[in-house]
């Protein structure tokens, strides 16, 4: 594996469109559920252990070499919210463009052909990691980190939270991020049906409301 390739893929400036998304933090701020750094930490921790684990395992499984179309179907079954399915596919399409320009591979090309409107983002990320010579654990780390870095960055803007505090929240989550990546990687060696399916009711509920807001700072 190439540690530098992992940095390129995990870089927030990698042009895959993730910066436009708050990961459910925008509605949580509006409803008063996130008011400070402590609330942000609990939000991020909850997201990491639920949809974060599920997405990291899908990515690790794609990097491991499971059938990406079967994983895409598994991702649908793990995403009851149509708003979140749309977001996942849109982010998948954006990542696919960046990935094919960066690390062209026949597997990426085949998935782009089979899912022209975008596959679920974690599946694309897993295949991208594969194309970049990275492994399942690298893919899981990337996705797990995105799960919490998106909301943390968004809350800095939404609450005018001190960016140092937001970064400290992420740093304190590092041991849990490692554990989630480890769990996701272990699960990737099993069957697709047995992949984690942890979910977060409030994220599913608020995603639909948020998608209908006439004016919002973030796309999701």
């Amino acid at each position: 594996m190439s540690r530098a390739a992992l940095l390129v893929l995990a870089d927030g400036r990698f042009p895959a469109g993730g910066h436009a998304h708050s990961g459910g933090a925008e509605p949580a701020v509006k409803e008063g559920r996130i008011r400070n750094a402590e609330d942000l930490a609990e939000f991020c921790r909850g997201r990491l252990h639920t949809t974060g684990l599920t997405a990291a395992a899908l990515a690790a499984a794609a990097a491991h070499g499971h059938d990406p179309l079967a994983l895409d179907e598994a991702a649908d079954a793990r995403t009851p919210s149509p708003a979140l399915r749309t977001v996942a596919r849109k982010l998948g399409r954006q990542l696919m463009r960046a990935a094919r320009a960066t690390w062209p591979s026949p597997e990426l090309a085949a998935l782009a052909r089979a899912r022209p409107r975008g596959a679920h983002q974690p599946v694309v990320l897993g295949l991208t990691a594969r194309a970049a010579g990275l492994g399942p654990e690298d893919a899981a780390h990337c996705v797990a980190y995105e799960t919490v870095s998106g909301p943390a960055t968004a809350v800095v803007r939404l609450l005018s939270l001190d960016p140092f505090e937001a970064t400290a929240v992420l740093a304190r989550l590092a041991p849990e991020l490692d554990r989630i990546a480890e769990q996701a990687t272990a699960a990737a060696h099993g069957t697709i049906d047995a992949l984690p399916a942890a979910c977060a009711p409030l994220l599913d509920i608020t995603a639909e409301a948020h998608a209908a807001w006439p004016v919002r700072l973030f796309a999701s």
Binding site: G24, A28, E31, R33, I34, D39, E42, F43, C44, R45, G46, R47, L48, H49, T50, L53, E73, A74, D76, A77, R78, P80, S81, P82, A83, R85, E176, D193, P196, A197, A198, C199, A200, P201, L202, L203, D204, I205, E208, A209, A212
Partner: protein, 257 residues
């Protein structure tokens, strides 16, 4: 003393067009009674005996199979309360529901609430196989703690396959020892009642209800496939039931197609 028990139900359509129950096996604390169905030719079974279970260490299961064209409703007489086992070193309890619904058959699975009492540890799994033309209504309600007490530990996985393909797969985990953040702003946000209503109906292939909010903490979402899922959290069991009941009559009263 922990208990291992598997109750079984098999529903078939007999030659008169009435659903009969050639298999109706109670086991241990899981007592099954045939009760009067709201709709004549359908069958209804009420689980009457789960009050004293599951205790820590118990391994309970219910298996129900609804054969081609048959119609079955399963409900329960009272809430199921997960309690701690005797002794400090009790194992977690497990409760498995396995449901199989055949072609043109219908199953309504409408148990009362599952209450996670303080100190209990329960792992629940629900696995459902649906034929392509099967119909399903399933309600799940989880209440975290009895009145005024803190919750036990509860994990629950719901996995539904339709025509052999995954339709919905979700796992939740709450309480002491559950992965972090379960009570934070992403997951429960302090709510103590959480529930789901799943309705699978092949006629949704023609016209499926659209996503809509059912209040500030409840949403109806169409799945990929002819199915909708209602996801709701609420401060207590009564408010949760109201949301799910309204949603159910709403979905069933809206003829599709």
């Amino acid at each position: 003393m922990s208990v291992q028990a598997t109750a079984r139900i098999n529903a078939v359509l007999d030659s008169r067009g009435v659903t009969s129950l050639p298999v109706l096996e109670s086991d241990g604390p899981l007592a099954l009674r045939r009760t009067r169905a709201a709709n004549g030719p359908n069958a209804r079974v009420t689980v009457v005996g789960a009050m004293s279970a599951p205790l820590g260490g118990d391994r309970l299961a219910i298996e129900a199979r609804v054969e081609e064209d048959a119609r079955l409703t399963v409900d329960s007489a009272a809430a199921t309360v997960a309690l701690p086992g005797p002794g400090a070193a009790a194992e977690p309890a497990t409760y498995e529901i396995r449901l199989d619904v055949g072609e043109r058959a219908g199953l309504c699975w409408l148990p009362e609430q599952l209450v996670s009492a303080h100190g209990s540890v329960l792992h629940m799994t629900t696995r459902i196989e649906l034929a392509p033309t099967a119909r399903l209504v399933l309600r799940e309600e989880q209440i975290l703690g009895r009145h005024g007490e803190s919750t036990g530990t509860l994990t629950s996985r719901l996995r539904v396959h339709r025509a052999g393909r995954p339709l919905i797969d979700q796992q939740v985990a709450y309480g002491p020892g559950a992965p972090g953040g379960w009570d934070g702003a992403a997951v429960l946000g302090g709510h103590r009642a959480v529930g789901q209503l799943l309705v699978v109906d092949p006629s949704f292939d023609e016209k499926c209800p659209e996503a809509r909010l059912l209040g500030p903490t409840a949403v109806l979402t169409p799945l990929v496939g002819p199915a909708v899922l209602v996801t709701a959290v609420a401060p207590d069991a009564r408010l949760l039931r109201r949301v799910l009941s309204d949603a159910l009559s709403d979905v069933l009263d809206t003829p599709a197609g």
